[in-house]
């Protein structure tokens, strides 16, 4: 079945050049909470074998992404569309014999990609919604009126002041702004 948005395939035939390798990369990744055990992945492939996404994708292979990370192929990994395809179903996390939290490693890689200015549109939208309303989706006024008609209690209203502050101290607002400027 053809995929509508074909992810970029990391070509298997592409020769890895020594200058592509960043030996510090795996240490950088392993310092991120949840991603520590990337160091002990022994490439058994259980993650890929059990991955529901891999079954329907020509390019998404979690085992390969783990190996590329271990090798230090930083640029290739961070620019790959594949890191955005994990659905976080945690099947691989439960099955990994080395207890690697594969989905957390991928989350760490995504966070790094964002710092490099790579962020799929959907995440930019969700991020800006959170800054605007405290929620990932903006509930339309019509819905809010309908809630009242249905006798449902009013929705929580997040403290935007608190959200702004947290966004500032965690560096989130900077990340979202950065991307915006670049895309304009």
């Amino acid at each position: 079945m053809p995929e509508k948005t074909q992810p970029k395939v990391t070509k298997q035939v592409k020769v890895i050049k020594a200058n592509e390798i960043d030996p510090r990369f795996k240490y950088e990744v392993s310092k991120v909470p949840g991603a520590k055990k990337i160091m002990i992945c022994f490439q058994c492939g259980t993650c890929t074998a059990d991955c529901p996404i891999a079954r329907f994708s020509d390019s998404y292979r979690p085992r390969k992404l783990m190996r590329m990370t271990q090798l230090g192929l930083k640029d290739r990994v961070l620019s790959s569309d594949n890191i955005w395809l994990c659905a976080a179903c945690f099947t691989c996390v439960d099955h990994c014999p080395q207890d690697v939290e594969i989905s957390s490693v991928l989350r760490a890689l995504r966070n790094m990609a964002v710092k490099e200015g790579v962020m799929p549109v959907v995440f930019r939208d969700l991020s800006s919604n959170i800054l605007k309303t405290g929620y990932a989706y903006v509930i339309p006024a019509l819905r809010l009126r309908k809630r009242e008609e249905q006798g449902l209690p009013p929705l929580p209203k997040a403290s935007l002041e608190s959200i702004a502050k947290l966004s500032e101290v965690t560096g989130f607002s900077e990340l979202v702004k950065k991307k915006k400027e670049e895309s304009e």
Binding site: K4, F56, A87, R110, I130, Y135, A136, P156, S159
Partner: protein, 302 residues
């Protein structure tokens, strides 16, 4: 009887698109004698932007946890995404001192501090551990014995096992038992615990559509008249996206997706309209026929 009192965490998707889940939950909770407390100051659980900034996710989740701590109440979520996130962050902060220190550094800026005094549970876990099967059984007035359904529980209710752990993710039984309390038969089907793909639909829509289509094929194969969910995202794949799946793959399914709370509500004798069955995209008319129930006609019905 112990009192079942929870702060209700609705999250984003349920008020945005799946109000039927909230409406039916409130009806069912009333019958079960559960008290759902509103928390006017909650924000997003954080999960949607975990991929952008893990620290911001932690901060958002921790803020919600702190608000619940101030009320001295446990949180119940309807969305397993919110539930899994809040539960995991809660556990991590309780056990990882370094992480707790870091997050409390953020929270200090808004005058809060994570203490680790509350629990977070998804509604399935609340029904299992706090309400109990006996209590649910007592409320059944109209057993749905003529109905055959399939379950799709959703990943975040079961996995990762080390955080959720109340059921076996390889062979989950709790949700099936909850379904069978209504009198309906819960059929086994191939790859039952497989993911629907919903979380990546914003990045790649064809993979989730193929995953859900495959699940629908397996559900149809065993002759289930409906699929029962407890996750707004999974529900969106099975309900809102089912007509699209039918178009893309040129195949007819017509399998309604009901929230568990709707199924339970029907068995409690609550009317289909009160349970917002009319809000489903794939109409549940066949299910209601089997149960000899009727539903008001809405102009939106196909």
């Amino acid at each position: 009887m112990t009192e079942v009192r929870y702060l209700l965490f609705l999250g984003c998707v349920i008020p945005y698109r799946i109000t039927s889940y909230e409406i039916s939950t409130r009806k069912v909770a009333e019958k079960l004698g559960m008290e759902l407390v509103e928390m006017p100051d909650f924000n997003c659980c954080g999960l949607p932007i975990d991929s952008v900034s893990h620290d911001m996710m932690l901060a958002l989740a921790a803020r919600n946890l702190c608000l619940a701590e101030q009320q001295n109440l446990n949180i119940m979520t309807l969305c397993p995404g919110c539930g899994g996130t809040l539960l995991k962050v809660n556990e991590k902060l309780k056990h990882d001192k370094v992480l707790k220190q870091k997050v409390n550094g953020y929270l200090k800026e808004i005058g809060l501090e994570f203490k680790g005094t509350i629990k977070v549970k998804h509604i399935v876990q609340v029904l299992l551990e706090d309400v109990g099967f006996e209590k649910i059984k007592e409320t059944i007035q109209r057993p749905l014995t003529s109905l055959k359904v399939a379950e799709h529980e959703g990943c975040h209710v079961l996995r990762p096992k080390k955080y959720l752990g109340f059921d076996d993710p390889e062979d989950p039984m709790v949700f099936k038992k909850l379904i069978e309390l209504t009198g309906a038969e819960c059929l086994d089907y191939e790859d039952e615990t497989a993911c629907c793909g919903a979380p990546i639909i914003g990045v790649n829509d064809m993979i989730p559509l193929q995953l859900t289509r495959e699940k629908l094929v397996h559900i149809r194969e065993v002759g289930a008249q409906a699929v029962i969910t407890v996750c707004p995202f999974c529900h969106m794949m099975f309900d809102i996206n089912q007509p699209r799946i039918e178009r893309v793959f040129n195949e007819k399914f017509g399998i309604p997706a009901l929230h568990y709370t709707q199924l339970l509500g029907l068995a409690m004798g609550i009317s289909p309209d009160e349970l917002a069955l009319d809000q489903l995209r794939v109409k549940a008319s066949k299910v209601l026929e089997v149960l000899s129930l009727t539903q008001k006609a809405t102009p939106l019905q196909k």
